[in-house]
Symmetry: C2
Subunit: 205 residues, 2 copies
């Protein structure tokens, strides 16, 4: 490695890291909607085609910046679509499964830890939540409600689900931490059901 110190062409890993660093700064600074692959490529000093080659779509690059091991565009519609009476149950079961899965759980815990420790990571997670998660919930169940109402439902759901992940996997509060997922589902599902589809008080209370 030391022999390459003065070389002008960085290796593939360096290029990927440069792109990711530029993407983190751009998404955190401009937000997902206003950030472009072209800007990120310019900031990383590479061709836009290389960004697409390494990371695919803008959504996929955004997921990479927060190290999200799952794609909300795949997971959320499957949870939200279908029998509205059991949507809370499906959501809780799906997320408990993702957190416990050795392929996805550790990365999600790392994302939460980073967001708690570091302002830029928190900004990225917040922006990810607003553009990649809330919009899909709005799209699936919020058709007859104003978007602010759906965003409120989504942030209430997030408060319970982030808190459940924190209590179970990071703080490991007992007995929650030791309970099997299937025992937790019927305890928490009614909360999520109410936040998503229940009659909530008006925000102007």
């Amino acid at each position: 490695m030391t022999g390459r110190r003065t070389g002008r062409r960085p290796g593939k890993q360096d290029t990927r890291r440069q792109i990711l660093t530029a993407a983190r700064a751009t998404f955190a600074d401009r937000g997902f909607d206003r950030a472009t692959i072209r800007q990120i490529a310019t900031s990383a000093g590479v061709d836009p085609a290389l960004v697409h080659h390494y990371y695919g779509t803008k959504e996929a690059l955004f997921r990479a910046t927060i190290e999200a091991p799952i794609d909300p565009a795949v997971v959320l519609p499957a949870v939200l679509h279908g029998d509205l009476e059991h949507i809370g149950e499906r959501l809780v079961r799906t997320f408990l499964g993702i957190w416990s899965d050795p392929d996805t759980g550790p990365a999600i815990r790392a994302t939460v830890r980073s967001a708690v420790a570091d302002e830029m990571s928190a900004n990225l997670l917040r922006e990810f939540f607003a553009t990649q998660i809330v919009r899909r919930i709005t799209h699936e169940i919020g058709v007859d409600e104003p978007p602010e109402r759906s965003a409120m439902r989504a942030s209430l759901v997030a408060s319970q689900m982030f808190g459940l992940a924190l209590a179970r996997h990071i703080l490991r509060l007992e007995p929650l931490a030791a309970m099997p997922s299937e025992a937790i589902v019927p305890m928490v599902a009614p909360t999520i059901q109410r936040y998503l589809t229940g009659d909530l008080p008006a925000e102007s209370t």
Copy 2:
């Protein structure tokens, strides 16, 4: 200060810090119940009377190790005692108030950040939760339930309340972060009410 470098008697601040460091290690290692002021004093190399002088009771010293700015022995009975039908509302209103209060909110956020970042801080917060919070909830409302059942109710409440603090004050998810506390109370109170007093499914589900 440099003139004192070789002095054998540390200053007051040093002594307090030594006691706190010894207390953190002892509580994390042995747990609250088995830790004694005498052990902590020995480990810090000071007289037990000095520990009492600086920190008061074992409970108060434990609160100091996790930098808890409030005393659950004062706050919780006031929340839990009284009209059982509105206990959820009282709990949510009280905690939203404590988090928003400039005297107590920053210290609580620091405690959560530490517990997420650091294993020993997480152990201390977990132990604090189990011995200082769950026991009081058990004592106030759990008289006709087994202690494990009360502990489950307490950890469900903690999952929602920690998650609300995380969403509102650390991740700042909108619209939750911008909403006045009084608008949030009626949204979250029914969740807490059900966790504390509702018919929850059996744990053996």
